[in-house]
Amino acid sequence: MAATATPGPKVNRIGLPVLEYRGGKTTLCAGCGHNAISERIIDALYEMGVQPERVMKLSGIGCSSKSPAYFLSRAHSFNSVHGRMPSVATGALLANRTMMGLGVSGDGDTASIGIGQFVHLMRRNLNLIYIIEDNGVYGLTKGQFSATADIGSKLKTGVVNDLPAIDTCSLAIQLGATFVGRSFSGDKKQLLTMLKAAMAHKGTVMLDVISPCVTFNDHEGSTRSYKYMQDHEEPVGEVGFVPSFEEIDVEYEEGSSFDVEMHDGSHLRLKKLPENYDPTDRAVAVRTLMEAHENNEILTGVFYIDTQKPAFTDLLNLVDEPLALLPQSRTRPPKKVLDEVMSKHL
């Protein structure tokens, strides 16, 4: 299994070359932020040594929701209906808690049609990585504003957005997601690190990844363009990650740094945080996000993490194995239970 055992291409810790993590050829526009995110997902899965067949990719509808076709072809994929991925994912992962859920949605899919499902998903803290590929528009229907577009931002046609943006990160933090952050498709290092940390987390990870739509929202007046992000991205700190299977280095700066030991023994290290920033304090995280927004900054990084709260499946009376694999003798209620039920009707 070790990388040295077989000659040939470089392999990861489970002996797979990065090729095995690739997907179909993308049909999205060249330069679309979504493609860069797919690349980072591939890198993260490869570097974390995730067994492809154990992954269940899930998405809704939109350019972003097509992305699962462009990474990890060896995994299972469910391209559901517009805005409904949260409930499909919940059902699937409750019935099979052994799979790693990886959801990809868009800002329209999440914050418009799917907002009801999204908020209830966040409350559940299900084992799921939920990525919003956020471009502020509905790419697939040709560039109308979505609900994450900033008030005052302009479409190419000159239409001005007259409603305030929904901040999916603040929402997720308030509602109970246990790993919440924002990144930028153009920030390779930060995004990759956050994705890897996300894969080590138990509970719901909500990552809002700003992902410019080169075709409909990359112009002057947009707040989701590459240019705007270069000028306005403001990392809340530096994100570092040491996976469980790597030696942990001893030195790390006290004070403005924060080291979180994750469930599997990995370490998430947030460095250069603002003074008094505590990523385990929801109120601080939400206030910091609101302040940054008022200053026209797009804050990125890991805003909030909670490694203590049990994941949804741990709270339920669930057997460990996938429910579909239970023998028939165990799919029907036990006779004792049925007899007890029937006795009440006699």
Partner: protein
């Protein structure tokens, strides 16, 4: 004909109508009597009018019947509404301190209970109810012990003093009646049978458990909520995942997610919730993920009449979700069938990987029926269809989730099996699940996939039995119904026979596939056909016509929120046979 005895108990919501109802139901079923109970109520937690009818007899009691033998009004309002409907030989037991009788037919016995002299009403708030139960039992010729046992059970070991007190009150009522009231002409019979008393909702839930349902999701909506309550109460012990979800869109998609992961998943709602589920039924069909959705119909449209029954959702089901896709629709014929139908429909939908829809209604969902426990098969045959749940090495790299086959059914691998990973998609896709309309649309593939899915209809039709004709072949009239009207039409036929009119019955249980040819064959010699349904527009009549061109001679429809009583159908049939009336809309004689 089957001799039955009916009790009507009415009062305001919160006055405790349910408890005497439960007590009578228990006593009757323990005497080995069949029973049918129907509660007419309003969408209100306190106040309003609720009226419970319990009808018992030695033979199966399929509906609430036409008349009441014993009326127990718990308030003046109930007295005013129902007393005039009692016939000769009937009796009314009431609290003489607070309720005044009114106009009534000759031969009705008015049984005034001096409640405040028989019991201490300052201590016992429901004394009038308990006294009335005691009195009723005496008049029905049932020994007091039966009541004492039930009361003791009700209070359990926890409150023996309270039980004693209530038994004493019941005894006082019993003895008072023995001394002052005339017993009913026929004492209630007894048999050595043993029946279980189930509501339709309980039966649907238990049927699900028997079918091996592992995932149940719902959002509360009358009259389907009882199914959720059953699963919420028993789910944990029974090893069933039960989720109350934020709305019906979430409910059905969650069920699809679970079914996708390979388990049997079910959800129940009413018309309004079903409307929200429409989109997801398309997903179930397109992704070929079988689920079962139950619609317990109430009177619509919109919020409609939340506590009243109707058969008004047939076309919603036929048209749910856009595009063409195969679906299975079935309507249980009675409460026992609510149980039996669920494992049956699961076997069909699993085999053909399509959505299965169950059209139940308030009448069955919230009604109660005595069911022979031997009918409740908790280990029915389970056919999960072609499922791949373990790697067997055959498919390495070549597995096609949507393989085009003669039957239209493609072997279904559950997620997580090496060699069988695949893409599931709501977009039209190729055999491997990959979209066919990304760069350009391959219409040949689209056509092939469409035909593959639709081919399942042939298999489904063969898997589902055609209906049969009940009753004499050469009858004067053929009554056609579907779902919950089975029992009331059956009784109407018996009444017609007594009046010299022979009637047979075609009752539809499987609505889709319909078996149009078989139906035409059954009806080809019918002398006169009348379609009976609980809706305004004749939804089934229109469906039957659209599928077979068959046009019935007459129609009996009711859309006032209450179910048919046998005499409604009998009177309408007579009216139609006698003249040129082709549409009868019976009116419900009492406001409940």
């Amino acid at each position: 004909m089957n001799h039955t005895f009916s009790i009507g108990i009415g009062g305001a919501a919160g006055q405790g109508v349910a408890t005497p109802g439960d007590i009578f139901a228990k006593i009757f079923s323990r005497r080995g009597l069949h029973l049918n109970a129907y509660n007419a109520y309003q969408s209100i937690i306190r106040g309003g009018h609720t009226f419970l009818t319990i009808r018992a007899g030695v033979d199966p009691v399929t509906n609430m019947g036409d008349t009441i033998d014993l009326l127990i009004p718990l308030n003046q309002d109930t007295m005013d509404r129902h007393l005039r409907l009692l016939g000769r030989g009937g009796a009314c037991i009431y609290n003489a301190d607070t309720i005044k009788p009114g106009e009534h037919a000759d031969g009705v016995q008015l049984c005034a209970l001096p409640v405040s002299t028989l019991a201490d009403i300052t201590k016992n708030k429901v004394a009038q109810n308990t006294l009335a139960i005691g009195a009723a039992l005496s008049m029905m010729g049932i020994g007091f012990q039966a009541l004492e046992d039930v009361i003791r059970e009700q209070f359990g070991k926890k409150a023996p003093a309270v039980a004693d007190e209530n038994i004493a009150v019941a005894r006082a009522g019993y003895d008072y009646a023995t001394q002052h009231f005339q017993a009913f002409a026929r004492p209630l019979p007894m048999t050595d049978k043993k029946y279980a008393v189930l509501s339709g909702n309980t039966a649907l839930a238990m049927g699900g458990a028997a079918a091996g349902v592992k995932f149940y999701s719902a959002y509360p909506m009358s009259p389907s909520t009882g199914v959720l309550h059953w699963f919420a109460t028993h789910g944990r012990k029974a090893g069933i995942m039960v989720r109350q979800v934020e709305d019906e869109i979430g409910v059905v998609n969650m069920a699809i997610g679970a079914a996708h992961a390979g388990v049997r998943a079910m959800c129940a709602t009413s018309g309004g919730g079903f409307a929200l589920m429409s989109e997801a039924l398309g997903l179930s069909a397109m992704a070929e993920i079988p689920i079962v959705v139950i619609d317990c119909m109430r009177a619509g449209p919109s919020t409609g009449v939340p506590t009243k029954t109707e058969q008004g959702d047939l076309w919603q089901m036929l048209g749910a979700a856009f595009g063409d896709y195969p679906r299975v629709i079935a309507a249980p014929l009675d409460i026992a069938d609510c149980f039996t139908l669920i494992p049956e429909i699961f076997n069909v939908v699993d085999k053909f990987q399509v959505p299965g829809l169950v059209l139940c209604d308030l009448l069955l969902s919230e009604g109660r029926l005595s069911v022979d426990p031997s009918v409740l098969n908790f280990a029915p045959p389970v056919d999960r269809g072609e499922m791949i749940t373990a790697p067997n090495g055959h498919a390495e790299g070549g597995y096609k989730r949507y393989l085009i086959t003669d039957s239209g059914v493609s072997p279904r691998a559950i997620p997580g099996i090496p060699g069988y990973t695949h893409v599931v998609s709501s977009d039209e896709h190729d055999e491997d699940g990959v979209l066919i309309s990304d760069m350009f649309t391959n219409h040949a593939k689209r056509r092939a996939m469409m035909e593959k899915r639709m081919r399942k209809e042939q298999g489904i039709a063969a898997a589902v039995p055609p209906p049969t004709l009940q009753g004499p072949a050469d009858a004067d009239v053929t009554l056609i119904g579907w779902g919950s009207t089975q029992g009331v039409i059956e009784e109407a036929r018996a009444q017609l026979a007594e009046q010299g009119i022979t009637a047979n019955q075609l009752q539809i249980r499987w609505l889709a596939p319909l078996h149009g040819d078989a139906i035409l064959d059954l009806l080809k010699n019918a002398k006169r056909t009348i379609i009976v349904e609980n809706n305004y527009s004749g939804q089934f009549a229109r469906y039957l016509r659209s599928e077979t061109s068959f046009v019935a001679d007459g129609h009996i429809r009711k859309y006032d929120g209450e179910p048919f009583m046998p005499h409604h159908i009998v009177d309408a049939v007579r009216e139609q046979l006698a003249g040129d009336v082709t549409l009868s809309v019976p009116s419900h004689e009492v406001m409940v």
